[in-house]
C-alpha cells in the first residue's frame, strides 16, 4: 500500500502553516488522520494564487487547478507521508469521487476478507451466463471420430467337412513367387548427406615423434668384497735397508731431536692442567657432604631367622638386587649339644632376599647343618658351595629357580614361575610359600673336616690342583675346585668333578643307569650326583707349627692373586689368552656331571702360580705357608711343609683375612681389638697396625672402589670407616648400625651411582646401607698415594729392623767396651812413667831434627845452643 511514487491523479503538496490557516486545514486540528479530507473551493485557490503569486503553495499546480472542471477540489491530509508530502491534492473528479467513496468499498472489501466463507457462497450463487462461441466446438468436431459410411460386414465360413481336420503346414519359399515378400531396401537419404564446406580447425607443429624402447639386461646384485694387505718388506729387504748408509745418517741426525722431545716429556707433562686438578680434590667437600651410610633396606624374616644369627652374606654375582645370607643358630657349644634334637628338626637354611620383597625370602637352600661360609661359583652363579658346622661341604644347584629370582627382581611381588617343579607332591598346597632347594651333593663325613668349616673359596679357572698337590693348567677354563679350611688344622682342596677312578665303572653301569629313570625324590637336580656322599677332598694341607709340635688351626685363608674375588668379578693375574678362553667358555653352562678329572700326565704343570697362602688362626696368629705338597723321599707320602712365617699379632681369633681388590699383595687381617695390614713378601711384620679400639673388631672388609678405605665392624654394632689417607690413628667416621654385634660386611657395586653395603648383625637382621659419594668415589691418584704410603711403611719397617739390629750391635759393642774398661785400671802407674819417658825422648828427637834442618838451611849460628 505504500507507494514511493504517486498515482497520476493526485499531486503531493506541501502547505505552509499560513496557507493551512487560510484554508482552514491546519494539521491535526481541522484535518486529522480520521478525517483527512478537506474540500477547497476553486475560487479560493485561484484568489490565493493571485494574491501571493510565486510564494503561494499552489503555484506549481496553477494550471491544473484552472483546468479543473468542478468547483471544489479535494485536499487530503497525508498524515503518514505516503506520497511524500503532508497533503495531496486530488486532480480529477473521478479520483475525488473515488477518494470520497471508497470508504464504503474498502469497507466491503475488508468485510469480504474477514469472512471468506461468504465469498465462496457469494460466488456460487452467481448465475450461469449464456455460452459464447469462440470456435472451440469446431475443433472438437474435427477431433471426434464418426462413421463416414455404414460399417461393412463380412462373413467368412468354411466347408464343414474341413472342421476338425488335421492341419497340414508346409513351407513355401518366399523367393519363388514374385511378391512373396516385400522388401524395404535401405537407401541413402539425401537429406542427411551434408557436405561440410567449411570447418574451423587448429593446427600445431610438433617435432617428429618416434617411439622406441630398449631393454637392459637385469643383473642381480651380488656381494663382493675386496681384501687388501699392507705392503710389507720381506726380511731380506729389511736387512738391506737397515744396512744402508742413508739410514745410518738419517737416524743419527734425527736422534737428537727425539732425545730432546722425550726428555721434555719426562721432565714434566706440559699439558697437565694443575689448576683443574686442584679443584677436583676440593669438589668432594662441597657437594654431598653427608658422609654417613644411609639405610637403604633391611631384611628380617620372622619365620626363618627368629632366634638366629647371620653368619655370612653373599651378593648374587649376576642378578641385581638378590642377596643370600646364611642363617645359623645362636647357641654356644653346650647349648647345641643339649638341644641337638630340636636342631635336627629345624633345618638350617640359606635365605635369598630380593630387594623387591623385604618380608619374604625368595628362595631357601636347605643345609644339613649350620653353614658358616658359602660362595657362589664365579663361572656359574647357579652353583653354590657351602661349608657346614659338622665339617661337610655342600653343593647346591639353583638353576631351576633362577628365572624366579630374576622375575621377582623385575616385576616385584611373587611370581612363581611355572617351572618350579622342585616339590612335586606339595606344589598345590605350597604355592605361596618360598621354594626350598635341597642340596644336591654333600661330602662324606669321614673324609671332610672335623670342625666347622669357617672359610671356603673357589679356585679360579686358570689353574687346577692335581692329586700330587701341584698346580696344573686348567683346560676347562671354569672354576672346578674349592679350598676350605677349618679349625681342625687342615686346609683341604676339593674338586667338583667326578674322579677318574669311577669312570670305567660308570661306563659299565651306563646302560643300567639309562634304563631305569634316575630317582629324584626331592626334585634335586642331578648336577652333582656323582659326588653325593662320596665326595673326598683332593689334597689335604696341614699346618704344623714351626717351633713346637702341634698344628695351627686356621679360621680364614687367603690365597695369592689367582683367586677370584666374587665381588669385583675380576681375575687378576690372568693373561689375555686365558681371559679370552674364560669368556668363550662361560657362555655355555658347563655340564658338571660330564667333567672328569684329567690325569696328571695329560696336564701341564704351571710354574708361575704362587702357591703361598696366608691363614689366620684361632690364636690370633697369621701363618704364611706353602700349600704345595712335598714328597717325603723315605716313605713316599705327601706331606706339607712347615709354614715359613708366623706372626702373633692379634689378641683374639682372626676373623678376617682379605686381600685388597686394588693391590694383590696387601692383606687385611682383623682380630681381637685391632686390625693389621700386611704386604706379601715383607716378613718383618705388619706394615700398618691399628691401635686397640674400645670394642672388639668382629669383621673387616676393603672398600670396592676406594683403595684407601676399609670397613671394620665392631661388637657393639658400630661400623668404623677407616680412610688410611686421612688418618691412621682412628677411624675417619663411626656409625652405629644396630644394637648387637656385627657379623658380616659385604660391599657391592650396583652401578656407578649406587654402591651398597650389606651388614648383618647378631640378631639375624640384614641391613643394606648405601655408601655415600665421599666414601665411594676415589680421590685422584688415590691408588698411587696408597701404594706410596705402603712403600713408605715398608721402608719404615725395614728401617726399624735395621735400627734394631744396629742397636743390638751397638749394645753388644758397648757391653764389650764396658767389659774392657773394667779391665784397664790394673796397670795405671806404669803407664804414666812410660809416658813421661816417651815424651822426653820425643822432645830430644825434635831438637835434633831442628838443628839438622837449620844447619841445612844455613841459619844456624856458629855456637851451638841448646834450647830448653
Amino acid at each position: 500500500m505504500q507507494a514511493t511514487g504517486h498515482p497520476n491523479d493526485i499531486l503531493p503538496l506541501t502547505l505552509t502553516s499560513a496557507t493551512q490557516e487560510l484554508f482552514g486545514c491546519r494539521c491535526d486540528e481541522d484535518v486529522t488522520g480520521d478525517n483527512p479530507y478537506k474540500i477547497l473551493r476553486k475560487e479560493d485557490i485561484v484568489q490565493d494564487m493571485r494574491m501571493r503569486a510565486a510564494v503561494s503553495d499552489f503555484s506549481p499546480v496553477k494550471q491544473l487547478v484552472l483546468d479543473y472542471p468542478e468547483d471544489e477540489l479535494l485536499l487530503v491530509y497525508d498524515r503518514d507521508f505516503i506520497y511524500g508530502s503532508s497533503f495531496y491534492l486530488v486532480l480529477t473528479a473521478d479520483a475525488k469521487d473515488r477518494h470520497l467513496k471508497p470508504v464504503v468499498a474498502l469497507g466491503v472489501e475488508v468485510a469480504l476478507e474477514r469472512e471468506p466463507s461468504e465469498v465462496f457462497a457469494a460466488q456460487k450463487t452467481s448465475e450461469p451466463q449464456p455460452w459464447i462461441s469462440l470456435g472451440s466446438e469446431q475443433e472438437i468436431e474435427e477431433e471426434s471420430v464418426t462413421d463416414s459410411r455404414p460399417r461393412l460386414k463380412y462373413r467368412i465360413s468354411r466347408v464343414r467337412r474341413e472342421f476338425g481336420a488335421p492341419i497340414f503346414f508346409s513351407d513355401r519359399n518366399a523367393m519363388e513367387t514374385k511378391d512373396g515378400f516385400l522388401e524395404c531396401t535401405p537407401y541413402q537419404d539425401k537429406n542427411f548427406s551434408l557436405k561440410q564446406m567449411e570447418r574451423h580447425t587448429g593446427v600445431q607443429t610438433i617435432p617428429n615423434l618416434k617411439s622406441s624402447s630398449t631393454q637392459t639386461q637385469w643383473t642381480y646384485p651380488r656381494s663382493m668384497c675386496t681384501q687388501y694387505e699392507p705392503r710389507e718388506f720381506s726380511k731380506e729387504e729389511k736387512e738391506n735397508c737397515l744396512q744402508s748408509e742413508n739410514l745410518k745418517n738419517f737416524v743419527n741426525s734425527v736422534a737428537s731431536r727425539f732425545e730432546i722431545a722425550i726428555q721434555q716429556n719426562e721432565i714434566m707433562d706440559v699439558f697437565f692442567d694443575d689448576w683443574k686438578a686442584l679443584s677436583e680434590e676440593d669438589s668432594g667437600y662441597g657437594r654431598k657432604a653427608d658422609p654417613h651410610l644411609k639405610e637403604y633396606q633391611s631384611f628380617t624374616d620372622l619365620h626363618f631367622s627368629k632366634d638366629k644369627t647371620i653368619s655370612n652374606i653373599n651378593w648374587h654375582p649376576t642378578i641385581n638386587g638378590v642377596i643370600a645370607v646364611a642363617v645359623t643358630e645362636r647357641l654356644s657349644f653346650e647349648d647345641r649339644i643339649n638341644g641337638s634334637t630340636k636342631l635336627l628338626l629345624n633345618p638350617s637354611l640359606i635365605l635369598f632376599w630380593s630387594f623387591s620383597d623385604p618380608i619374604n625370602p625368595q628362595l631357601l637352600l636347605e643345609c644339613p647343618d649350620d653353614v658358616f661360609s658359602f660362595e657362589f661359583c664365579p663361572s656359574d652363579p647357579n652353583i653354590i658351595v657351602g661349608g657346614c658346622m659338622n665339617g661337610q661341604v655342600v653343593l647346591w644347584d639353583i638353576s631351576t629357580h633362577v628365572e624366579q629370582l630374576q622375575g621377582t627382581r623385575t616385576s616385584g611381588g611373587k611370581n612363581i614361575a611355572a617351572n618350579t617343579n622342585a616339590l612335586q607332591g606339595f606344589e598345590d598346597k605350597r604355592e605361596n610359600e618360598t621354594p626350598v632347594v635341597r642340596y644336591c651333593a654333600v661330602s662324606g663325613i669321614e673324609n671332610g673336616h672335623k670342625a666347622p668349616i669357617t672359610d671356603i673359596q673357589w679356585l679360579p679357572g686358570t689353574f687346577e690342583v692335581s692329586r700330587m698337590g701341584v698346580p696344573m693348567e686348567n683346560r676347562n677354563g671354569i672354576c672346578v675346585q674349592i679350598v676350605t679350611c677349618a679349625p681342625d688344622c687342615c686346609v683341604m682342596f676339593w674338586d667338583i668333578r667326578a674322579p677318574r677312578v669311577l669312570q670305567t665303572m660308570a661306563d659299565q653301569r651306563k646302560q643300567k643307569v639309562e634304563e631305569k629313570p634316575l630317582e629324584n625324590p626331592h626334585g634335586v637336580p642331578n648336577t652333582f650326583k656323582h659326588l653325593d656322599l662320596t665326595w673326598k677332598p683332593l689334597i689335604r694341607v696341614s699346618l704344623p707349627k714351626i717351633d713346637t709340635s702341634g698344628e695351627y688351626s686356621p679360621l680364614k685363608i687367603s690365597l695369592r692373586d689367582n683367586t677370584c674375588d666374587n665381588h669385583t668379578g675380576s681375575n687378576a693375574g690372568i693373561d689375555a689368552d686365558r681371559a679370552h678362553l674364560n669368556a668363550e667358555r662361560s657362555e655355555v653352562a658347563p655340564e658338571y656331571a660330564l667333567l672328569r678329572v684329567l690325569s696328571a700326565k695329560q696336564l701341564k704343570p704351571l710354574e708361575d702360580i704362587c702357591t703361598q697362602l696366608y691363614a689366620g688362626t684361632e690364636d690370633g696368629e697369621l701363618v704364611y705357608t706353602d700349600w704345595k705338597l712335598e714328597k717325603d723321599n723315605d716313605s713316599g707320602r705327601l706331606f706339607s711343609a712347615k709354614p715359613s712365617h708366623r706372626f702373633i699379632i692379634h689378641d683374639g681369633q682372626v676373623n678376617t683375612v682379605r686381600r685388597s681388590p686394588f693391590f694383590k699383595d696387601i692383606i687385611l687381617t682383623v682380630g681381637g681389638w685391632t686390625f693389621a695390614i700386611w704386604k706379601e713378601g715383607v716378613m718383618n711384620g705388619p706394615i700398618i697396625q691399628s691401635s686397640c679400639s674400645q670394642k672388639k673388631c668382629t669383621v673387616g672388609y676393603w672398600s670396592q672402589s676406594r683403595p684407601a678405605v676399609l670397613f671394620i665392624g665392631k661388637e657393639d654394632g658400630n661400623i668404623d670407616v677407616w680412610d688410611l689417607l686421612e688418618k691412621t690413628h682412628e677411624p675417619s667416621q663411626t656409625q652405629n648400625i644396630t644394637a648387637t654385634q656385627i657379623t658380616c660386611i659385604k660391599p657391592w657395586i650396583v652401578s656407578s651411582k649406587q654402591h651398597l653395603l650389606a651388614v648383618s648383625d647378631y640378631l639375624g637382621t640384614l641391613h643394606i646401607l648405601e655408601i655415600p659419594w665421599t666414601l665411594r668415589s676415589p680421590s685422584s691418584n688415590e691408588k698411587l698415594s696408597m701404594s706410596k704410603y705402603f712403600e713408605k711403611e715398608v721402608d719404615r719397617l725395614v728401617y726399624f729392623e735395621k735400627r734394631r739390629e744396629m742397636r743390638a750391635k751397638e749394645k753388644k759393642d758397648s757391653e764389650a767396651e764396658e767389659l774392657r774398661k773394667k779391665m784397664e785400671p790394673i796397670i795405671p802407674e806404669k803407664q804414666v812413667e812410660q809416658i813421661l819417658e816417651e815424651a822426653m825422648k820425643e822432645y830430644e828427637d825434635y831438637l835434633s831434627l831442628e838443628t839438622v834442618i837449620l844447619k841445612e838451611m844455613g841459619l844456624l849460628p856458629d855456637t851451638n845452643k841448646v834450647d830448653i
Binding site: F233, C241, V251, R257
Partner: protein, 108 residues
C-alpha cells in the same frame, strides 16, 4: 750390544741399532718404528698390525704436514712433528727417504 762372531760385518746396522735402542730405553717410550719413503715399515718394536697401521697413517699425515709447511713458505721444510693425544705422544721425524716414529707415554 750386538756381539758379532766374525769381525765387523755390519757396523752400520750395529750403529743404527744402538741409536734406536737408546731412544727406546727412555722412560715411557712405548715403541719405535722406522718407515721408508713409501710408508713400508722397515724396523719396529711393536707388533705387526699396529706397526702397519701407524706407518700408513703417519706417513700420509707427515706428507700432508710437510706440504702444508712448504706451501706456506717454499723455503721452509718440516723437521719434526709431535702429536699429543690423551694417552700418548707420537713423534715423527721425516726425511727424504725415511721416517722415524716414536710413541711415548709422557705421564708415567
Amino acid at each position: 750390544m750386538w756381539i758379532w762372531p766374525c769381525g765387523n760385518t755390519n757396523p752400520i746396522k750395529a750403529e743404527v741399532e744402538e741409536t734406536l735402542k737408546r731412544i727406546q730405553t727412555h722412560k715411557g717410550v712405548i715403541g719405535t718404528i722406522v718407515v721408508n719413503a713409501e710408508g713400508i715399515p722397515i724396523r719396529t718394536t711393536l707388533d705387526n698390525s699396529t706397526t702397519v697401521q701407524y706407518a700408513g697413517l703417519l706417513h700420509q699425515l707427515t706428507m700432508k704436514a710437510r706440504s702444508t709447511v712448504r706451501d706456506l713458505d717454499p723455503q721452509n721444510d718440516l723437521t719434526f712433528l709431535r702429536i699429543r693425544s690423551k694417552k700418548h705422544e707420537i713423534m715423527v721425524a721425516p726425511d727424504k727417504e725415511y721416517l722415524l716414529i716414536v710413541i711415548q707415554n709422557p705421564s708415567e
